[in-house]
Amino acid sequence: MLVMKGIVKQFPGVRALDGVDLDVRAGEVHCLLGQNGAGKSTLIKVLAGVHQPDEGTIVFNGEQVRPSSPMDAIKLGFATIYQELDLVDGLSVAENIFLGHEHAYFGFVNRPAASKAAREVMERLGHPEIRPSTEVGRLSPAAKQVVSMARALSHDARLIIMDEPSAALAHDEVANLFRIIRELTAQGVAVVYISHRLEEIREIGDRVTVLKDGRTVAVGLAARDTPTTQIVSLMTGRNVEYVFPPRGGRTLGEEVLRVEGLTAPGVFRDVSFSVRAGEIVGLAGLVGSGRSEILEAVYGARPAAGRVLLEGRPVRRGVVGTVRRGMGLAPEERKAQALILDQSVTANITLGTLPEFAKFGWIDRKRERSEAKRLSELLDIRPPDPERPIRNLSGGNQQKAVLARWLLGGLKLLLLDEPTRGVDVGARAELYAVIHDLAERGIGVLLVSSEVPEVLGLADRVLVLREGAVIHQGDATELDEHRVLDMIMNGRAA
């Protein structure tokens, strides 16, 4: 159905695509794999009409095409669902779905028709609870994803490109996403699916194309049968096992954090737990189970009743105070919540502890630079140039810089929200090692992840959350993925 041959795209100083081939058949789920920076995003922007290739041909249904603008691509039947959702927060669900092709007569929007059509699409997607009149800004990330999907469907797309659609979704929502994808492919729609999660690709994918450094290194591998080691080695050019550091070897110290009866009405209730120095405690649960909100409440960024004690003393609400007491947060939305993208790696690293590098407000830039350099070497942040704008780093290295930020102060408790989101397989293993290393230095770690294996692999102790309540608390080694999933999805305590 779609054949791309020899696509080249040059940016000033970078050859983002250097001869990419892609061949997608009608009714299949074609997975696109590659590390950050391999050219996946550029490739889908070519399909979406955002970038025009410098060389190469695109043939769609036997005709040579050249999408010259996003509108053009949509007219051809290509719909793209971006990783960073491109919805207008201030508009309603229906308005977002039909943005650009409104149900209108002479410029006047026919609202009843739009909301009826929106409701139909939502029902088809299995989310009738998302009402057409709701403002999109009020929706959860998962619900926004559904709206994006609805927008693609409303265009009668024949080729849907999904850039990490599952990154913002919890387990049951991924199942729903897959159900929708299967429905679409049964109707002959082709899906180009980008994900870092190999297990998803095995479940939903038909064939796999692997990109590396802007080139296609493998075309049309069978998604189910190709061994993981082969895929990973194609992506990285080396054999990397997707592994967690070994357990043990860490001695747990005093209790760092104690949370008693933490409650935020409608979000979570009566949450109590503690974290010891050198201990990694994981929170497992679905999106909406209150896991990220608990982290925010501990951090003082969200009001909640109950007590939070750091080293035995209660913390005052408000981030300024909790940071001063030695807490640090690596938030879920790295770009939106953690990074100053225009600033250098150094400035991003020292952002949280700037006063320590200053006398009377005057920054000691030499010391600042040398500390940033030390940390970027310690965490192996690449490229090893701390003066580079952080915008140019890959997701994994940006995340390391966020971790480095909190290593500078006298950090006692590190809060991690989805630490490996949007991070490729190779960099994940490195991040896991870094997190372990931090714990070994006596820092308490509180970890939230949608990926159950990640929580189980990293944490010493696991709290299982369901609908805002802790339903299980215990050693990670006594649990397996199956049991945790069973608990969070069916509500059965072990």
Binding site: I340, G352, R388
Partner: protein, 335 residues
């Protein structure tokens, strides 16, 4: 500033690195310097007799001094993600307050303190309304623009208040010269240098970039964003107070009509200088170069006896061209 990339040069020579350290080495500043050079050449060609004279250069700098000081404050506010529309009105209010009969009784020192504290206080009120009252900066400072101008009219009864002869120490700031240059120009230069240091060498400056670049990230990194925002507007107000002293010195008056539309000139200078209106990026050097370009245009039009309306058209075009070039820069930066 038409240069396509902002990538830093690969570890260059020591000359290059010291140029960079001055903040002059950035490509966009080279563009501004080029524009400035072209204007100077135009001046030399069209008015060879009186462009390059000391008196003309001094008048350019004195003209630039008033808005220049305001521009430094505006640069901080805009890098911090805000906007201050009230600057001209606040300067007028400060000049009026400092020249009332009651204030003039107390002597020149009190007049200076009065101008500075009126400016700072009004700026802090802006800041508190924006940071803690959660008003949109555009609206809060628009309201302050109207209200401050009104208060200035009320206090002065719409009359121009002359500085008394026994307070002529204020006026001396513009008439006394060091090395042929009036003291007000030194004040301007001092504000620029202090502003540059504050923005580039202190935690306050770094946090200004952080708050403007990503307010949520700044908050979660433990920065007291509200307090910082309030202080930014206070700083802008302080600059208005300093500008009020300069304009009092230059005109020997305090008046509610001082500084009309200065907010637009200041914001235009900041934008031409490459500071993003969305915050997070920008430089003091750029703003000052932008301001000098603006002032030079005014000067060239006056010297050549051209229409002031044409002058406004030329300024408008320059703003548009500058912003268009900036947008091209941004686009090419994106992967």
């Amino acid at each position: 500033m038409s240069e396509p990339t902002t990538k830093r040069p690969v570890a260059g020579s020591t000359v290059a690195s010291s140029v960079r350290r001055l903040g002059l080495g950035e490509m966009r500043h080279l563009g501004l310097l080029a524009a400035l050079a072209i204007l100077v050449v135009v001046g030399l060609v069209t008015r060879p007799d009186n462009f390059a004279t000391t008196s003309n250069l001094v008048s350019i700098l004195s003209l630039a001094a008033t808005i220049g000081v305001i521009t430094v404050g505006a640069t901080f506010v805009i890098i911090g993600g805000g906007i201050d529309l009230s600057v001209g009105a606040v300067m007028a209010l400060a000049s009026v307050w400092a020249t009332t009969v009651a204030t003039q009784e107390q002597g020149p020192l009190v007049m200076v303190i009065c101008a500075l504290s009126v400016g700072t206080t009004v700026g802090l009120i802006n800041g508190l309304l924006i940071a803690y009252g959660r008003l949109v900066p555009f609206i809060a400072t628009l309201a302050m623009l109207v209200a401050a101008r009104g208060l200035a009219q009320r206090m002065s009864d719409r009359k121009t208040q002359l500085i008394r002869v026994d307070n002529s120490a204020i006026v001396d700031l513009s008439t006394t010269r060091w090395l042929g240059i009036p003291l007000v120009v030194y004040i301007f230069a001092l504000v620029v240098v202090l502003g540059w240091i504050l923005l580039n060498r202190t935690t306050f400056g770094r946090r200004t970039y952080a708050v403007g670049g990503n307010v949520e990230a700044a908050r979660l990194a433990g920065i007291n964003v509200r307090r910082h925002t309030a202080v930014l507007y206070g700083l802008s107000g302080l600059c208005c107070g300093i500008a009020a002293i300069i304009i009092m010195a230059r005109t020997t008056t305090g008046s509610s009509t001082h500084g009309d539309l200065y907010e637009l000139d200041a914001i235009a200078a900041v934008i031409i200088g490459g500071t993003l209106l969305t915050g997070g990026r920008g430089t003091i050097v750029g703003s000052i170069l932008g301001l000098l370009i603006f002032t030079l245009i005014t000067n060239l039009f006056i010297l050549n006896g051209l229409n002031t309306s044409d002058q406004l058209i030329a300024k408008g075009l320059i703003i548009v061209v500058a912003v268009l070039l900036q947008r091209r820069n941004l686009k090419e930066r994106a992967p």
